[in-house]
Amino acid sequence: MLPGPSVHDVVVLDRTELARGVILLGFYAPELAAVTSPGQFVMAIPPGGERAATALAIYEAQGERASLLFFVCGARTRELAELRPGDKLSLTGPLGNGFTLESARDVAIVAGGVGIASVLLPAQRLAERGARVRLFYGARNSELLVDRDRFASAGCELCCATDDGSFGHHGFITELLAQTDDKPDLILACGPSPMLRATALVAAELGVRAQLALEETFACGVGGCWGCVVPLDRASVQAPKFPKTGSGDYVHARVCKEGPVFWAHELRW
């Protein structure tokens, strides 16, 4: 059995600004890389003056190197963006339950914006084992459709969409998914909540099961504070075992602990 999660003291190996405000940070982190499954995340412990840890998906995990891909959008990601090769950082993880890749042969992966950070690992694992992987990738503009080559070279077919029409379909990426004649047998998705909701609808219409990686504001990230819940069907295997309360037949599951990946049809949001 693999060792479990822990606090990893890692060292920055490389830093690339993939687009304005989009940072890819690579680390020397052999232990973290070894135990990570696709869809899991870390809590990055603030290296400087900031006070709260930041939840970030594990983008790459191969050999001795793991990486994080993030958008600079507030104080914490700004602090992380200041790290340079040689700097130290502590990462708590890997955390959460990632994607269940099962024996799917034809997988559609839907990623919106920063959601791309959660889906490289599943794309690679699926492609490696011979599954067909289509990446439906949407962003505000072409510049923010970052790191497409890496997905292409991993063997993914790419379908892109931008809000401003600067690349690919002009509109929502879920519109492209809905138009596909070629039904996948599994859908994985990560991105902003409206995109995830749209993906869930399309998946239901197509009659395909979908797993969604949710984003929520976290405090602890490890299941200790119950601050990050989502209503989940009581029948789900992921549902925390609570007695029935209220009128709905759902419980509040922790996104950080029971998720972040949930089956779309089990969410009651």
Binding site: V222, G224, C225
Partner: protein
Amino acid sequence: MVSKVDLSVRIGKLELPYPTLMASGCYGSGEEFEAFADLSKIGAVVLKSVTREPRLGNPMPRLVSTPAGMLNAIGLQNPGIDWYLEHEVAKFAKRPCAVVGSVAAFSVDDYAYVTERLAARAEIAAIELNISCPNVGSEGETFACDPDLTGKVVRAVRAVTDKTLIVKLSPNVTDIAAIAAEAERAGADALAVINTLRGMSIDVHAWKPRLGNLTGGLSGPAIRPVAVLAVYEAARAVSIPIVGQGGIENATDALEFFLAGASAIAIGTANFTDPRIPERIVDELGAYLAARGLQSLRDIVGKANAGFGTPFQYEGDAG
């Protein structure tokens, strides 16, 4: 950190090797943090508050960050005492630290009922009475905001258990000393000071409160000066030990509370920053005492006015 100073504390009948409790609601049942922290290096974990009936908790969002702090409105999500006793409590026996149960309720009877059942279990070393939760406003007054209610509920609970009873007070009051004194008179073995401050944050783009519950409890470094003063005032009003809390991030912060009169401290929000903070605080407290040739943490409790010189160097207008 090889210094052999004595960091142990006694809270009622509870003997703890370290003066660091993990604050209720911020550390799960300890299990969630076991992979990231050495629980044998903490004093005790205070469990998330449990109620008579199961509770779904508040709608999302439940967390908002604020300057040097955060608002939370979890709404006491928990499976209720029946389920808790049947499915959860047995697991607590495995923790390498003391486990303190936390009880919340909306009536005096329910406080006593839940406490009696929970305290009967050997896995539970002591009971913390959360009479100060600010996030369930519509369901009843906060007991800790009124000395009479505080006295009533503490007496009722005292009657049903001999285990150590820690009463958790609210900062949302004018005179915390009066409430502390009443809790002591009513039989509390110790006080936890403070719970969160009531607060609100509004999304100015969406024109609505950021928390699903509208209001929440403010924690973190932002409230530390309020918490230190509350401990200082409560400590002067009672002779039972105080578990100081509110914005403690490191040993220096913790020392403010000890000097103000706390015998132990609790760490809440800081666990969300870095799970290694509790252990680091213990190490640094040891080093602080050793560097001053002090043998025991008890030597500094309540010594906020013991400095060289007096804070009043010349005549001023007000005390």
